[in-house]
């Protein structure tokens, strides 16, 4: 068995940022394992711009952003096992992976899980109708166009207004396809406002809110979809059905953290985020195993993925150098309109700034988000508007942390 101080599972933006941060923290024996032949993860197929504004102060495409980190990884001589898929991670940090050279087993000092997320499929939606070719998840279509160089269809309907769906509406249009409509079952879009403007409005693509696909038609290849409006309980409203002829249906109906390895390792999970339960250093409840990026909770912007993953890299490096941090854990609870908060608990002895990340349950106008510990306000921020599609962040300044449960809630102003 090979030994490495830190093994990073997944070479996307989170994995590369964690590796670089761990190295710079002084633990240089770091390896990244990635299943693709080139690291970079899903960024490689995101050829649109808008990446890096927060983190790098410049606007880059996905592949450019990935390259910035790939160069940092290469400069430090961090080994990347490419074309290698991790099969299992155990609680005593044995990582087993397979590639064309055979099976590799590594005893890791610390493991950072950065596997990212996957898209919800048509099957998970349980949409009635036939099962023809031409129904793709938006990311699969993106890969076909941007990596493989093939158009998945000529006339499309997009279900779901998540960011990938919006980006793909524009991408399909730019490549000559006609995008008939984007349908969103919720009364609001799940995507970033800038994407609604730049990807739909600029191209006159209609966005139908409170509308979903209720039936899929076509025997061999998709021939059309029936859409209908839904009420507040997402039940179809009678007499609102409409048939749209199309040969392609793209689904952008949510992302699911890809935690098969995490669950198999017996790590405690958060039912709301679909990711592991972690502390402020991204440490899971299993000693020496860390998790960050979209595998922990789904992000809107890669910049924040990199930011947070650095925290995991540092946490893993500190663990390798100093072992477990002593101290009791303070639970962090989402209440009153906040859907979840990461981390789910904080070490009482934590030093330095502590970032809390959260999503609200409903869109709202002006609102204040506050983290409290008993009577003490640990952090607060006022927002002109909030939406489930936009992740919020609070920072607890050093020295404020007391004892007792921390709650995070949102109040309308």
């Amino acid at each position: 068995m090979i030994k490495h101080d830190i093994v990073i599972v997944g070479g996307g933006p989170a994995g590369m940022a964690a590796a670089v941060a761990a190295y710079d923290r002084g633990v240089t024996d770091v390896v990244i394992i990635d299943r693709e032949d080139t690291p970079g993860g899903i960024l490689r197929q995101c050829i649109h711009n808008g990446f890096g504004l927060h983190k790098l102060g410049q606007e880059l495409t996905g592949p450019e952003y990935a390259t910035v980190y790939a160069v940092k990884v290469a400069e430090r001589g961090i080994k990347v096992y490419t074309g290698t898929t991790v099969l299992s991670v155990t609680q005593d940090r044995i990582v087993t992976a397979t590639g064309r050279e055979g099976i590799v087993q590594i005893q890791a000092g610390a493991v950072v899980l950065t596997m990212g997320c996957r898209e919800r499929s048509r099957g998970a939606l349980n949409t009635p109708g036939t099962r023809p070719a031409g129904v793709f998840s938006a990311g699969t279509a993106q890969k076909l166009i941007n990596i493989d160089g093939y158009m998945p269809g000529k006339k499309a309907v997009i279900l779901g207004s998540g960011d990938i769906g919006l980006i793909m509406a524009r991408r399909m249009t730019l490549e000559g396809a006609k995008v008939e409509a984007v349908c969103e079952i919720m009364p609001y879009s799940g995507g970033l406002t800038r994407n609604i403007v730049q990807c739909l409005e600029d191209y006159d693509i209609p966005l139908y809110l409170g509308t979903t696909v209720v039936e899929i038609h076509g025997k061999k290849r998709l021939e059309g979809v029936t859409i209908a409006q839904v009420d507040e309980n997402r039940r179809e409203i009678p007499d609102t059905r409409r048939y749209i002829e199309c040969d392609t249906l793209l689904l952008s109906v949510g992302l699911v953290p890809e935690n098969e390895l995490t669950i198999a390792a017996g790590i405690s999970m958060d039912r709301v985020t679909g990711g592991a339960i972690v502390d402020e250093n991204c440490h899971t409840e299993i000693s020496g195993i860390f998790a960050r990026g979209n595998v922990l909770h789904v992000h809107d912007l890669v910049d924040y993925v990199s930011d947070e993953a650095e925290r995991a890299g540092c946490g893993a490096a500190d663990y390798v150098k100093n072992g477990v941090q002593a101290g009791e854990y303070i639970p962090v609870k989402a209440v009153g309109g906040v859907r979840y908060v990461i981390p789910q608990h904080i070490n009482r002895n934590a030093t330095g700034e502590i970032s809390l990340f959260m999503r609200v349950a409903q869109p709202s106008g002006k609102a204040r988000i506050t983290a409290r510990q008993g009577e003490t306000i640990l952090a607060t921020a006022t927002k002109l508007k909030t939406a489930p599609g936009e992740m919020e962040k609070l920072i607890i300044r050093p020295g404020l942390l007391g004892t007792g449960e921390i709650t995070v809630e949102i109040e309308q102003l």
Binding site: G102, T140, K154
Partner: protein, 478 residues
């Protein structure tokens, strides 16, 4: 023109198993299939149950072929290395009104000569299956019943038949049958023609049309669709046995069963449809499945659904199988109306049909070198570490994971493209390897598999289809 001793119309599980049975003898046999792959009709979308035999009406062909067919199918699964499990089943009664039905089925089972039946109380049923509803008051336990993967079985049967010399012709949709000078001339929609001395009609939902083309169309198939919902493996352990409800006028009712691959399957509904192609699902029926499955097993988490689908069974009025030599057309065999328990009976039907052909004059001399076994396809996820390293050393493609959800390697994909009956499309690869059958339903792996198919067949990605015909995936190259 190609000429065979025996032509078989339809490469479902019945046609495939008959082909395998005939491959024992010195005969030339050709299996004709209208789709791009075998097992594309009722065979690919059913409950996958090896029925005990308590259900068919005594005295029917179904009762007889089920009773002898159950052990024959278990044996064939072993020979062909097809995933199967004798997981037992239960027919559950909810309250005093339904309890007599359990007793009736028990009596019927005894009459059919079925062993391993036991009437148990609701509490005993819940001891065996703790997830069962507290409303269940009585149940029939069927110890000889099992589960099997129906398309793996058919692929293996056809593959084994082909290894023993049988020819498979796909995309051969029969549109004309002529008989002159004791020979059937069978034409396909795309202009191919083959000749044969005997013609066996196991065309499923199209069997009535084929029979009419041959000149003996005395029955009408009433296609009945059954919708199913398949749950993620996280739900697979909900029950260990197959859980039926007492039969009503809609057939055996909604079942809850584990699959051999570790998923949980619920369904089927039963409704009349126009044709065998009517494999659509509807919101109403999917809701019904959830409601009725929850009646037996209240804890099923339907949020874990990974796909829903519909299969169309070929039923007839009267309800029994139609298996006999034609009265009107010499050497034409009807093997029609093979609905439930058709899968269980596939081997017994095959043996019965071959006997029937022999009586009709087909000369059977056994091959000296017939081999009825088929090796298990190499399944990476089932190997231990040493085996994995060994196969990767021999062929590095076995180290490359293509389908992350089901842990399927490039080596397994390539095997499905090169081993008879070879996969020609994405669904074919999926049925042979399980790639794309997991949680992401092919989201990540399908472009890569398309590339492998295109490379292997020397075509462009635009020529790769989901399931033949116009089911193309990429429309043009950028």
């Amino acid at each position: 023109m190609e000429r065979y001793d025996v032509l078989i119309a339809g490469a479902g599980v019945t046609g495939g198993m008959i082909a395998r049975e005939l491959s024992r003898y010195n005969l030339s046999v050709c299996l004709l299939e209208k789709e791009n792959d075998v097992a594309c009709g009722a065979t690919k979308a059913n409950s996958g149950i090896i029925h005990g035999g308590h259900d068919p009406v005594p005295g029917t062909l179904k009762a007889r072929l089920n009773a002898i067919g159950n052990p024959m199918l278990f044996e064939a699964c072993r020979q062909l290395n097809v995933p199967h499990r004798r997981n037992e089943s239960m027919v559950c009664a909810f309250g005093p009104d339904e309890e007599p039905a359990v007793d009736r089925l028990y009596q019927r089972g005894l009459e059919n000569g079925i062993e391993g039946l036991e009437v148990i109380t609701g509490d005993m049923a819940r001891q065996l299956e703790p997830a069962l509803s507290t409303q269940i008051t009585k149940a029939l336990l069927i110890k000889n019943s099992g589960i099997v993967c129906p398309y793996s079985l058919t692929i293996a049967a056809v593959g084994n038949a082909m290894d023993n010399g049988v020819t498979l012709k796909r995309n051969f949709e029969i549109n004309k049958i002529e008989k002159t000078d004791g020979l059937f001339t069978v034409c396909s929609a795309n202009g191919e023609t083959v000749q044969g001395e005997y013609l066996i009609n196991c065309a499923g939902c199209a069997a009535d049309k084929i029979a009419a083309m041959a000149g003996d169309g005395f029955y009408t198939i009433n296609p009945r669709a059954g919708e199913y919902m398949l749950m993620d493996k996280s739900e697979g352990g909900r029950v260990s046995r197959t859980i039926f409800q007492t039969p009503g006028k809609e057939g055996k009712g909604i079942l809850v069963t584990p699959t051999v691959h570790g998923n949980l399957l619920t369904g089927p509904t039963a409704q009349a449809v126009d044709s065998g192609d009517s494999t659509f699902t509807s919101a109403q029926q999917l809701e019904k499945i959830q409601r009725l499955a929850a009646k037996s097993v209240p804890g099923v988490n339907f949020r874990q659904v990974i796909t829903s689908f519909s299969g169309v069974r070929s039923s007839v009025d009267g309800g029994d199988f139609i298996i006999r030599m034609s009265d009107k057309v010499e050497k034409f065999a009807h093997v029609a109306a093979i609905d439930s328990p058709g899968l269980t009976c596939c081997v017994s039907i095959a043996v019965y049909v071959v006997d029937m052909l022999a009586q009709a004059g087909l000369k059977l001399t056994e091959k000296e070198n017939w081999n009825g076994t088929r090796e298990d396809p190499l399944a990476f996820s089932k190997m231990d570490m040493d085996q994995k390293n060994k196969v990767i050393a021999e062929n590095p493609a076995y180290g490359k994971i293509v389908c992350r959800c089901e842990t399927i390697t490039e080596g397994e994909i390539m095997e499905s493209l090169t081993r008879q009956p070879v996969a020609l499309d994405l669904d074919g690869v999926k049925r042979r390897t399980r790639s794309g059958m997991g949680r992401c339903q092919g989201g990540f792996c399908s472009p890569y598999i398309m590339k492998l198919i295109a490379q292997h067949t020397g075509t462009d990605m635009t020529a790769v289809t989901k399931n033949g015909g116009s089911s193309y995936i990429a429309v043009h190259k950028l």
